[in-house]
């Protein structure tokens, strides 16, 4: 659908996804000092991405469509509601990649909003975690109208 995987920091395809060390599942950002290690869990990076995306005017909500349905089920199981619905992150020791799906508020320019989201997500993650964000893919899968009936069934029959 409307995948704005075009602009700015996008390389074609996900060719340089972050190099997740060796340790598979326990993937987290690590910063070693001579007095101990600071590590950041993948969930934390995902939450930062979610908060950063919502900070942008014109973003109605995250999630939606299939990915939203899936992650909200996962979210409900894990008990954190839709905190990180619509957000996928891949975190290595030094880099991160982010996938977002979202609903945008109607007359806003999709390109402008997604551009601002991409920039804010990159800024937030990079300043807060020290990770380099190699890509932010954004899938816009719905529009919200000020009238607010975007979720209702618009079929002709009742």
């Amino acid at each position: 659908m409307t995948d704005t995987s075009t602009s700015t920091s996008m390389q074609n395809q996900s060719k340089d996804r972050p190099s997740t060390g060796g340790g598979a599942s326990g993937s987290l950002a690590r910063l070693e000092t001579d007095k101990g290690v600071t590590s950041i869990s993948e969930d934390v990076v995902g939450k930062i991405a979610a908060i950063a995306a919502r900070e942008v005017e014109g973003v109605e909500s995250l999630g939606g469509a299939i990915s939203g349905a899936l992650s909200s089920v996962v979210g409900r199981i894990r008990g954190d509601e839709h905190k990180t619905a619509g957000v996928g992150v891949e975190v290595g020791t030094k880099q991160a990649a982010v996938d977002l799906s979202m609903t945008i508020r109607y007359p806003a320019s999709i390109m402008d909003v997604t551009g601002a989201v991409r920039q804010n997500v990159i800024d937030r993650i990079e300043t807060m975690t020290g990770l380099e964000v190699v890509e932010v893919n954004i899938a816009v899968n719905d529009l919200a109208f000020p009238g607010g009936d975007q979720d209702q069934n618009t079929g002709r029959v009742e």
């Binding site: 910063l31 007095k35 950041i40």
Partner: protein
Amino acid sequence: MPADADPRPPSPVDVARVVADAARSHDDVVDLDAGLAGEFATYGLGDRVPGVRVEVDRDGRTQVHLRLVVRFGRPLPDIGDEVRSRVAAGLDSAAEPDVHVHVADIVDDHAELDHPGAP
């Protein structure tokens, strides 16, 4: 190892309690996190300190592991460093421990966050 003639070294729970207090004294630390099942803790006589593990490794060096819930906003590595030095200062033992800080969760105060892309 210069393991001085310490009459009675503090027990892991004693150390963990000091560590937990030091970590909580930081403004950006909302809480300590004991893990999904609450298993991440230091256990001792009649007490349990969640979110902290104190271990002594093979070289006799104290390794402190902390799981933190942090407030959204400031750079996490900075918070980690500050917590690390507070913990070290709180312990002031000769054999200064390694302090490993894990940011397990982050909370958004829902306060004004309207400064996108701060400098």
